[in-house]
Amino acid sequence: MKATLIIARHVLQESVRRRVFAVVLLLTVLFLALFVLASVKAFGAPGQFTIGTQNLVGPSQLTAVTSVTLLSLGAFASLFLATVLAVFLTLGAVRGDAERGLLQPLVVRPLGRRELLLGRFIGAVAVCVAYVVGLYAAVLLIVHQAGGHWPDHIVGPGLALVAAITILVAMSLLGSVFLSTTANGIAMFMLYGAGLVAGLLASIGATLGAQTVLTVAHDIEIALPFEGFYSAALHALGSNQTGLARVLVNVGPFGSSNAGSPAFDVWGAFYLAVIAVLATVGFERRDL
C-alpha cells in the first residue's frame, strides 16, 4: 500500500506541474467567466411563456427553470472539463508510458504492477474529483448569487458527478493498458460522446413516450454507467419541479428522466471492479 501511495503522490505532482493542467485551469477560468456572464444575463432578463396575454409559467417558476437549466449546464461543463483532465492524465499511463520509456524505471522497483496501477488510479481520481467538486461548487455559488436559487438537491448531484468521473478515469486507465496513447484518447472521447448521445436519446424518448428509444438509451447507460450517473445528477438538480416547469426542464438540452437507483450504484461499483480486474490482468501479462 505504501508503494501505491508513493505512485499516487507522484501522479498528483505530475498533474499539477504538467502543462495540460495549466491549460485546463485556463479553460476553467474562461468557462466560469462566461458562466457568470450568462447567469447574470439570464436572471436579468427572464423570458416569458405565454399564450395570448396569459403567462403559463409564473415568475418564481421561471426563475427555477432558469436556475435548473444553468445548473445543468454547469454540471455538463464540470464533467466535460474533468473528463478532459482525466483523459489527459491517464491516456498513456501504461502502453504510452512504456513506449516512451517512462514506465520501465518504475516497474523494475520492488512494487507490484497492481500497486502501480492502483496508485495511478488513486492519484488521477483525487485530482479529477477535487476538480469536478470544485467546479460544481463554483457553479452552485454563481447561480445562487445571480438568481438567489439553490438546486433541489446539492449533495446527490455532486456525488453522482464524482461517480461519473471516477468511472471515466478507470475506463481511460483500462484503455491505456491495451491501446496506444492516441488510440486511447480517441476511444475515450468517442465513448464519452456515445454516452451524451444516450442521454439525449433518453430525454427524447421520455418526452415522446417512445419506449424503444428509452430502452436503447438505458442499454447504453448500462454499458457506459458514467452517463447514468451524469443523467441522475441532472435529474436531481431539478427533481422538485412540477407542472409545466418540469416539462420545460425535461425538454431542454439538459433534461433527464433518470432518477438513479441503489441498484445502479451497485452496478457502478461492480463495473469499477471488473475494470480493475481487466486492467490488472492485462498489465500483469504485458511485456514492457
Binding site: A3, P105, D287
Partner: protein, 300 residues
C-alpha cells in the same frame, strides 16, 4: 597405539570451521528462451554473473541482448527457462530489491528535477539513504550542479547520466545497463568507464549491454556474445581475442612475424640487429574484441 604418537584428542578437537555457503551468483540465467509469435528472440541462453563481476553482453541488433536484460529485471516474461537475481526468482520483489536497471530507451518526466527523480526512486526502493545518497549519486555521475534542474532542461547525455544515478539508488547488488553510453560524448564515456570500475571495486555485479566493443574490452571481466538468440561465446576478453604475432618497425619499414609471441621478441630483435637492421619500435599484436566478435557472429 604407540604412546608417543601424537594424536589429536578427538573429544576436545575444535570442529573444523563450517565452510561459508557460497552466495548465489548475482545473475543466473538457465535455458532462457523467449518467443514473440513466430520470432525466436532468445533460444536457451544460460549465463551467470558472479558477485562483483563486470560482464559485457554483445551482439547484433535483434540478437536478444535487451530481451535477456528485460527478462532479468522482470519487464518481460520468459517463454522457457529461469532467471534468478542473487538467488531470488526474477520479477519478484526480492529480486527487484537487489537490482538497478537502466533501460536502453528510457525517459524521466520532463517536469521533475534530478533530485526529485532520485527521491522518488529512493522511496520506491525503500532506500534510507536520504539527501546524502542523492548528493553522492549526483556527484558520482557529475550532475551535482544541476540537482534542481528540470529534466526537460537537460541534454541527452545528462539524462543518460541521471539514468545511471537512478539505477544506483538503494545500493543494488546487480546493475543491468542497457546501452548506458549510447548518448555520451567521449569524456562522458570515459567517466562511465571509471564509474564501472569503481562499482566493481565496491562488489556490485554489472551486466552491461553495448555495441561499443572497445569500451567493453577495456573494462569487462568477461564478455558474452549473443547471435540469433543464442549464446555463441563467453569468456575473458583475452581468451576471446587471439595473438596476431609481433610487428617491428625497422628502418626499411614494418616487418610482421605472425607466428611469434612475446617471448620470441628478444631472439628476433637480436637477429635483426645482427643483420644490421635499425629497429625503432616493437609491438605484440592481438586481435581486438571486434575481430573476435566478427569471427563468431560474421559480418551480418
Amino acid at each position: 597405539m604407540d604412546a608417543n604418537t601424537e594424536t589429536a584428542p578427538t573429544a576436545l578437537a575444535e570442529p573444523a570451521p563450517a565452510a561459508e555457503p557460497e552466495p548465489p551468483p548475482a545473475l543466473l540465467a538457465t535455458g532462457v528462451g523467449k518467443r514473440y509469435g513466430s520470432v525466436v528472440a532468445l533460444d536457451g541462453v544460460s549465463l551467470s554473473v558472479a558477485r562483483g563481476e563486470l560482464v559485457g553482453l554483445v551482439g547484433a541488433n535483434g540478437a536478444g541482448k535487451s530481451t535477456l536484460v528485460k527478462i532479468s529485471c522482470g519487464l518481460v516474461r520468459p517463454t522457457t527457462g529461469t532467471v534468478t537475481v542473487c538467488g531470488a526468482p526474477a520479477a519478484t520483489r526480492e529480486a527487484r530489491r537487489k537490482l538497478g536497471y537502466l533501460a536502453e530507451l528510457f525517459r524521466f518526466p520532463g517536469w521533475s528535477t534530478a533530485s526529485e527523480i532520485l527521491a522518488l526512486h529512493q522511496r520506491l526502493a525503500g532506500s534510507p539513504g536520504g539527501q546524502a545518497e542523492r548528493e553522492e549519486l549526483l556527484e558520482l555521475v557529475g550532475l551535482s550542479d544541476v540537482a534542481r534542474r528540470r529534466v526537460e532542461g537537460m541534454s541527452k547525455g545528462m539524462q543518460q547520466r541521471l539514468g545511471i544515478a537512478q539505477a544506483l539508488v538503494g545500493e543494488p547488488k546487480l546493475l543491468l545497463l542497457d546501452e548506458p553510453t549510447s548518448a555520451l560524448d567521449p569524456a562522458g564515456r570515459r567517466a562511465i568507464r571509471a564509474l564501472l570500475l569503481e562499482l566493481r571495486d565496491r562488489g556490485i555485479a554489472v551486466l552491461i549491454n553495448s555495441h561499443l566493443l572497445g569500451e567493453l574490452e577495456r573494462v569487462c571481466d568477461r564478455v558474452a556474445i549473443l547471435a540469433h538468440g543464442k549464446l555463441v561465446a563467453d569468456g575473458r576478453p583475452e581468451e576471446l581475442t587471439q595473438s596476431g604475432g609481433v610487428e617491428i618497425q625497422t628502418g626499411a619499414g614494418p616487418r610482421r612475424f605472425p607466428n611469434a609471441s612475446r617471448e620470441d621478441i628478444p631472439r628476433i630483435v637480436a637477429g635483426l640487429v645482427a643483420q644490421g637492421v635499425d629497429i625503432y619500435e616493437v609491438a605484440v599484436v592481438r586481435s581486438t574484441l571486434e575481430d573476435a566478435y566478427l569471427e563468431v557472429v560474421g559480418p551480418e
